[in-house]
């Protein structure tokens, strides 16, 4: 419990160097409304979102900034939309490599191709590639900017949570620093402390699921090459560097390369530079000069907690659920956890909603986690068939796919992250807009569309929002302490396709996280009030 702090990884950017806090000298443990444990992507988004909503937030991390080493690179449209709302999206988009196309090869043949955003009129692309290091740095910079504007978000580096004591109305916990331990209390503790979550262990909670019996060598190489900015994936590649291989561009002339090595390997041997280079050389050809920027070997798992809300402790991101990376569903889903819990906690802390509102977070994000686990499990099973007969089918699909289009949709090298549609869960009423488009049905995140000089999503979010399309909605009203604002639009072709379908007019009720709660052909105050109250469980 009083073990000194040790580094589990080296830090590239010291974003929040250790500084003594007044809490360490307090006679009684200081009490805070929200404490976030962990400064990964999910903890940073949680702290930033709550801070921008006006709450005092303390984030504790046992390191002083972003670690070296390479993990996530693919950040999805929904993640960018969330980060844009939080003031960090522009830097990400400027630095990131935009892509939407993928090609899949078997041996030398191209057997499948996809385009994730075949449609114009969205501020954000389907995906950007950006290192997780830069993703986290941009979030930390957005936090500094928010603080300069009056937000109260405090990042405490080298503060490790060592023991947690949950109470009915909050949590008290021990924190270790380079200058010794201290105690704190919080009304709510948000555990974003990663897949190995010490907080989860401290509460004795399980984390069951599947381990895939395979090893993946990840190499980030620096080179100037003119391969297109597409995701290239090989099954049984002709260059024989692995059972499968991946090539994907990142910013700063870095390329992510990934080789599937199999289960029985000698990790140390495989990580020797000469051995890594032999595989990369076979892939790129002998004439391509490159530098190895980072290499490591991973095994992957799919698992989740039974429940993400445990009294006043809420789990988000990898601490709550873990997936294999084929589909880029880890950080992307964690960021959606953060935004889902932030608006709820905002209403709870302001006293306009009861604690039970957090149960909606549990329901919705468990559903999302199951969807992500299902998709990444299917992709991983296709990459690493778990039995002889499943390999037979896999190989049959690959062989048929080069000549026959019908087999191509069965080829699975990862189905990339899309947001979950919560519509069949409690709190979402029946769809009352006859002929309305499927993509904007209740439970779905609002599709973006051009609006004036900007985009539709710029004007939506942070509160409850009514959107009247060729239809009246009131400008603003207050419901039980909750501000509801209205926006009226005339439909152009994009808005019509995305929000009206065959209807002539529509009214949408949208929550602070830009998900549709309900929609109708026309405005009715009673219907809107009933829908909001039902959604908030009143």
């Amino acid at each position: 419990m009083t073990a000194p702090l040790t580094d589990r990884y080296a830090v590239t950017h010291r974003l929040y160097p250790y500084r003594r806090s007044a809490d360490q000298d307090a006679a009684e443990p200081a009490r805070h409304p929200v404490v976030v444990v962990g400064g990964g992507p999910v903890g940073l988004v949680t702290a930033l979102d709550l801070g921008l909503k006006g709450h005092r937030v303390v984030l504790l991390d046992d390191h002083e900034g972003v670690g070296t080493g390479s993990r996530a690179i693919c950040f999805s449209k929904r993640t960018l939309e969330i980060c844009h709302r939080l003031g960090a999206g522009e830097q990400m988009l400027d630095k990131g490599v935009v892509w939407s196309r993928g090609r899949v090869f078997h041996d030398r043949d191209e057997i499948y191709a996809f385009d994730l955003l075949p449609e114009a009129g969205h501020r954000h692309p389907a995906f950007i590639n950006l290192s997780q290091i830069d993703f986290e740095r941009f979030l930390a910079e957005a936090i500094a900017r928010a603080n300069a504007e009056g937000a109260q978000i405090e990042l405490r580096g080298r503060n490790r949570v060592d023991a947690v004591d949950p109470r009915a109305d909050g949590v008290s916990f021990d924190v270790m620093t380079p200058e010794g331990p201290y105690q704190m209390e919080a009304d709510w503790l948000i555990a974003c402390d990663g897949a190995r979550s010490p907080v989860r262990d401290m509460l004795g909670l399980g984390f069951e699921g599947r381990v895939f019996e395979d090893n993946f060598l990840i190499a980030d190489v620096r080179m100037t090459a003119d391969f297109p900015t597409e995701r290239w994936f090989w099954f049984e590649p002709w260059f024989k560097s692995g059972a499968s291989a991946l090539l994907h561009k990142q910013p700063d002339d870095i390329w992510r390369i990934d080789f599937q090595l199999g289960w029985d390997i000698d990790r140390e041997e495989e990580l020797k530079e000469d051995n890594v280079r032999a595989r990369v050389d076979a892939m790129l050809g002998p004439d391509v000069a490159y530098k190895l920027d980072w290499t490591s070997i991973y095994t992957f798992q799919c698992r989740r907690m039974d429940a993400f809300v445990q009294g006043r402790v809420v789990f988000a991101g990898d601490s709550a659920h873990q997936v294999s990376p084929f589909g880029a569903r880890g950080a992307n889903s964690g960021v959606q956890d953060a935004e889902n819990l932030a608006w709820r906690l905002d209403l709870i802390l302001r006293g306009v909603a009861g604690e039970t509102l957090m149960q909606g977070y549990n329901r919705e994000r468990v559903m999302a986690a199951d969807e992500n686990i299902l998709n990444s499990t299917r992709a991983t099973d296709f990459l690493t068939p778990k039995s002889a007969v499943s390999r037979t089918f896999r190989d049959a699909v690959l062989h048929l796919a080069s000549d026959h289009a019908f087999a191509r949709p069965l080829v699975n090298s990862g189905r990339l992250s899309v947001p979950c549609v919560y519509g069949r869960l409690p709190g979402f009423g029946a769809d009352a807009l006859e002929g309305g488009p499927d993509r904007s049905r209740p439970g779905a995140p609002c599709p973006d569309a051009p609006r004036g000089e900007g985009y539709l999503l710029d004007g939506i979010g942070d509160g409850f929002q009514l959107l009247g399309i060729n239809a009246f909605v009131p400008d603003a009203f207050d419901l039980d302490g909750i501000a509801v604002t209205g926006l009226q639009l005339e439909a152009d072709a994009d808005i019509k396709a995305r929000y009206l379908g065959v209807a002539d007019h529509a009214v949408y009720l949208i929550r602070p996280d830009q998900h549709v709660v309900a929609r109708w052909p026309v405005y009715s105050a009673e219907a809107v009030i009933a829908a909001i109250r039902a959604h908030l469980g009143r």
């Binding site: 296709f382 068939p385 007969v389 089918f393 000549d403 026959h404 069965l410």
Partner: protein
Amino acid sequence: MALVLTPNIDNPDGFYDALVQAHEGLNADESAAFNARLILILANQVGNEETLRAALKTAQGA
């Protein structure tokens, strides 16, 4: 009836998953027998002789 070789399976990932799951716990002989039964069931669904012959040919060619 021409053999359909363009995508026609409603939920490709779901079907593929169910197909592989159906073999869980079967040994090699049992799996082969399962596949034989499955092919015969699907062949009956197709029915048309010309289509079935075209399917046999396509499978040989791959």
